[in-house]
């Protein structure tokens, strides 16, 4: 038990991100309803974001905002900044971009879903397939 706990703590995030991704991917492939697929898509994307944020985490470090300079004086940053005190900001930046991209895709996909519904009056894939083969 004493050996197991550190291992779980060390890798738990990475394992769970894999599980979340699997849930999202499964929903995207297997679900019948297009909106459900979109939910799956979003879960898939957030799982990736979770992965990146987990990379950035550092033990015993604080959020990446330099405290001594708060208020922005000219001489405020004379105090030395230790890299070990702050969490890695780069993955956060990347993920801000990824979140924006995912919401943009989500919006467009929703608009498409509305269009599909206008045309076929359904969002279930099997019913859509039936409508398509009717013609």
């Amino acid at each position: 038990m004493t050996d197991l706990l550190p291992l779980i703590v060390a890798k738990y995030n990475y394992w769970l991100y894999v599980i979340l991704m699997m849930i999202g991917l499964y929903a995207m492939i297997a679900k019948n309803n297009l909106i459900k697929k979109l939910v799956g898509m979003n879960i898939f994307q957030t799982a990736i974001i979770l992965f990146y944020v987990s990379i950035g985490y550092k033990k015993d470090a604080t959020i990446p905002i330099i405290q001594s300079a708060h208020g922005g004086g000219h001489g405020a940053h004379e105090a030395a900044i230790h890299a070990a005190d702050y969490i890695n900001p780069l993955p956060h930046v990347l993920m801000l971009t990824a979140i924006v991209v995912s919401v943009a895709t989500f919006g467009v996909a929703m608009a498409l879903a509305v269009r599909v519904y206008q045309r076929y009056q359904t969002l279930e894939e099997d019913e859509l397939r039936m409508r398509l083969s009717e013609k």
Binding site: I8, V9, Y12, N13, L16, I19, L20, I23, G24, A27, K31, N32, N33, I35, K36, V39, G40, N42, I43, T46, I49, L50, V53, S54, G56, Y57, K58, A61, T62, I63, P64, I65, I87, P91, H92, M95, L96, I99, V100, V103, F106, G107, M110, A113, V114, Y117, T122, L123, E124
Partner: protein
């Protein structure tokens, strides 16, 4: 010592994700999805990614859910799976 919070919230996130894709009412899915996003946001705040958490709170739990509800309003609530 953040890891206990991290573990608990992560487990909740998984529950929310599974619930969101298995509920048979799309409006319910919308709400569960919002809850999922909010849990994620909490998790990232715990991990120190404040900017990402802020964005997720406003985007994932906020605007995305609104788009979702709007789309459900214009399509249908019912679903077979």
């Amino acid at each position: 010592m953040h890891w206990p919070i991290d573990l608990i919230v992560l487990t909740f996130v998984i529950f929310c994700a599974i619930a969101a894709i298995s509920v048979k009412d799309l409006l319910g899915t919308a709400i569960l999805f919002g809850a999922y996003s909010f849990m994620m946001c909490l998790l990232w705040a715990v991990m120190g990614a404040v900017d990402v958490a802020f964005t997720e709170a406003s985007v994932g739990a906020g605007v995305s859910t609104v788009f979702f509800v709007a789309a459900v309003f214009r399509t249908s609530r019912r679903t077979k799976d």
